[in-house]
């Protein structure tokens, strides 16, 4: 028999550390967080720029500082951490979690509840199928960030950034501050992928050109990257003939999106939502496998780490309740449907067991007054604008659900006023 663990959490990034805290506060006795790195903090270890935790701590912290505060809390709460340990398999029939570690070897764990907090990974070059060669010097922005901020190496001397996700914008400034050149940032869409303030403080501050509706159409160079061809695109995102331009660079950084990391979730037989790419969850952050919960970017890619930590606390608490037999297998399951301008959202079900926050992104930007709402008459909030790069929220109180025993479906949407 393996050791007794009430709540096992996979990944010690912001979601996992918060889940540990949430589980302990809810009364779970043994809460263990498994982390594959030698240190805690996940991707925030390498996000050394300020911009984290304004809502939680009322000040802007760097990634390591933000995690430092949560990790201290987790230690105080009695959360156990197992570093240098990787979960490489979850058996779907009995929820056995297989871990490996150089000292402990390969072990099977059978926790009462599991929280998935593996975060997300970056979309690679292959996902966008750019023609050309495959030289050295092409990195996702996050890989480059790790090289620069944790290993102390430069990915190159003159970079082009494809995609305007926040990590790409942050890396543009980071490269400049290390004395490299950034030729420009190219975004295929008509709007930026990242936050407007990052366009301002990472690009505009340093005069880095930002090109919307433009993409890389060819990669050049045999050994090391020698340049890229960029071209403007039309409404169908097809490159426009005659707009091609060769740009000399030795580095191409990709900030073309993030994908929830769900290999383990799939192994565990958890239903994955085709649009979010993360587990289908209810507002307790319980997946289709009742003993498995999920939080943070493994579920849906968030903009703000504060939200990730909040969700981690909820998932940890829910897992602790489940481990203690306090979540009925018959909780209500009211489906949430996205309206016509909702690209993705999570959770997909509401139970009435807890106050629910539903996070969503619009398909098309609305530059002007609009309204985010949940029907029938559950929530309505006026907004000044709604943009795909910035998440919106719907809040529904548990009692609103409890008071509506016949409620069979909730629709959320954002529409101009």
């Amino acid at each position: 028999m393996s050791e007794r663990i009430d709540v096992l959490i996979i990944g010690a990034g912001p979601a996992g550390v918060a889940a540990g805290i949430g589980a302990r506060r809810e009364g779970a006795e043994r809460v263990v967080v498994i982390e594959r790195d030698w240190d805690l903090g996940g991707i925030l270890q390498q996000c050394i720029h300020p911009g984290f935790g304004l809502r939680t701590f009322k000040e802007e912290l760097t990634g390591p500082e933000y995690m430092h505060r949560f990790i201290e809390q987790a230690h105080n709460e009695g959360v156990e951490f197992r570093t240098n340990t990787m979960v490489f398999q979850i058996d779907r029939d009995n929820n056995t979690v297989w871990t490996m570690n150089k000292e402990r070897g390969i072990e099977a764990l059978n926790p009462s509840a599991i929280v998935l907090t593996m975060g997300c990974r970056e979309r690679p070059l292959g996902a966008i199928r750019i023609p050309g060669t495959r030289p050295a010097g092409i990195y996702t922005a996050g890989t480059a960030q790790r090289f620069v901020n944790m290993e102390g190496y430069m990915p190159g001397k003159r970079a082009v950034i494809l995609g305007s996700g926040d990590i790409g914008l942050i890396m543009a400034r980071r490269m400049i501050w290390e004395g490299a050149e950034v030729e420009g940032v190219y975004e295929v869409m008509s709007w930026p992928g990242g936050l407007r303030r990052n366009i301002a403080q990472c690009l505009d501050d340093y005069g880095i050109p930002f090109h919307l509706r433009t993409t890389v159409t060819k990669i050049h160079g045999q050994d090391r990257l020698e340049g890229v061809t960029v071209a403007e695109v039309d409404d169908h995102m097809t490159p426009i003939k005659g707009t091609e331009r060769f740009v000399e660079c030795d580095t191409l950084l990709l900030a073309i999106g993030l994908i929830p990391e769900n290999e383990l979730s799939r192994m565990a037989g958890v239903d994955i939502h085709p649009v979010t790419g993360g587990p289908v969850v209810n507002d307790l952050l319980q997946t289709s496998n009742p003993a498995i919960f999920a939080a943070g970017n493994v579920v849906i890619v968030y903009d703000l780490v504060d939200n990730v930590s909040d969700e981690g606390l909820i998932a940890g608490a829910s897992a602790a309740k489940f481990a203690a037999g306090k979540i009925s297998p018959n909780v209500r399951r009211i489906p949430v449907k996205g309206g016509e301008n909702v690209r993705l959202y999570s959770p997909q079900y509401v139970t009435g067991e807890t106050d629910a926050t539903i996070f969503m992104r619009v398909t098309h930007p609305i530059e002007g007054a609009c309204r985010v709402f949940a029907e029938p008459n559950l929530y309505s909030q006026r907004l000044r604008y709604a943009r795909p790069g910035e998440m919106n929220e719907v809040h529904i109180k548990a009692e609103q659900i409890r008071n509506a025993p016949d409620l069979s479906e909730i629709t959320i949407d954002i529409q101009p006023l």
Binding site: G51, H68, G179, L195, L304
Partner: protein, 123 residues
């Protein structure tokens, strides 16, 4: 002649579009577009004395990592950021490093300190 300046507030993730009106003497007479007091004060600072928090790494001897992240504890003058980045580049510290540890006081004659932003153990 009054003058209008437009920029994006970087105080929080909202990124409000600010419009600042300067009067004839160059003083801020009006701030529009902000949604909070932080925005208003950012707008005033941005036209008079623009500042940014600087974040980078310093080289570390004998640490678990070869570099340790650092930041300016308070925002530093925007015009000094390259000078600061060079000063930080010249620095090499010994492990262990404690989070919050001041590594450079008043960097480049500014009133900002460079502090470590993580704990870094020695090997």
């Amino acid at each position: 002649m009054s003058e209008e300046r437009k920029f994006i507030c970087v105080s929080c993730p909202l990124g409000c579009g600010l419009t600042v009106t300067l009067d004839d003497s160059g003083e801020v007479s009006k701030v529009e577009g902000n949604t909070c007091a932080r925005g208003a004060s950012y707008a005033r600072s941005e036209v008079k004395d623009p500042r940014r928090v600087f974040a980078s790494t310093v080289r570390v001897k004998g640490g678990k990592l070869p570099v340790c992240p650092v930041r300016s504890k308070t925002p530093a003058p925007k015009g000094k950021l390259f000078e600061i980045s060079e000063a930080v580049a010249r620095l090499e510290v010994n492990a262990p490093v404690k989070i919050g540890q001041v590594l450079i006081h008043n960097v480049c004659g500014t009133d900002a300190d460079i502090v470590a932003s993580r704990d870094l153990e020695a090997v």
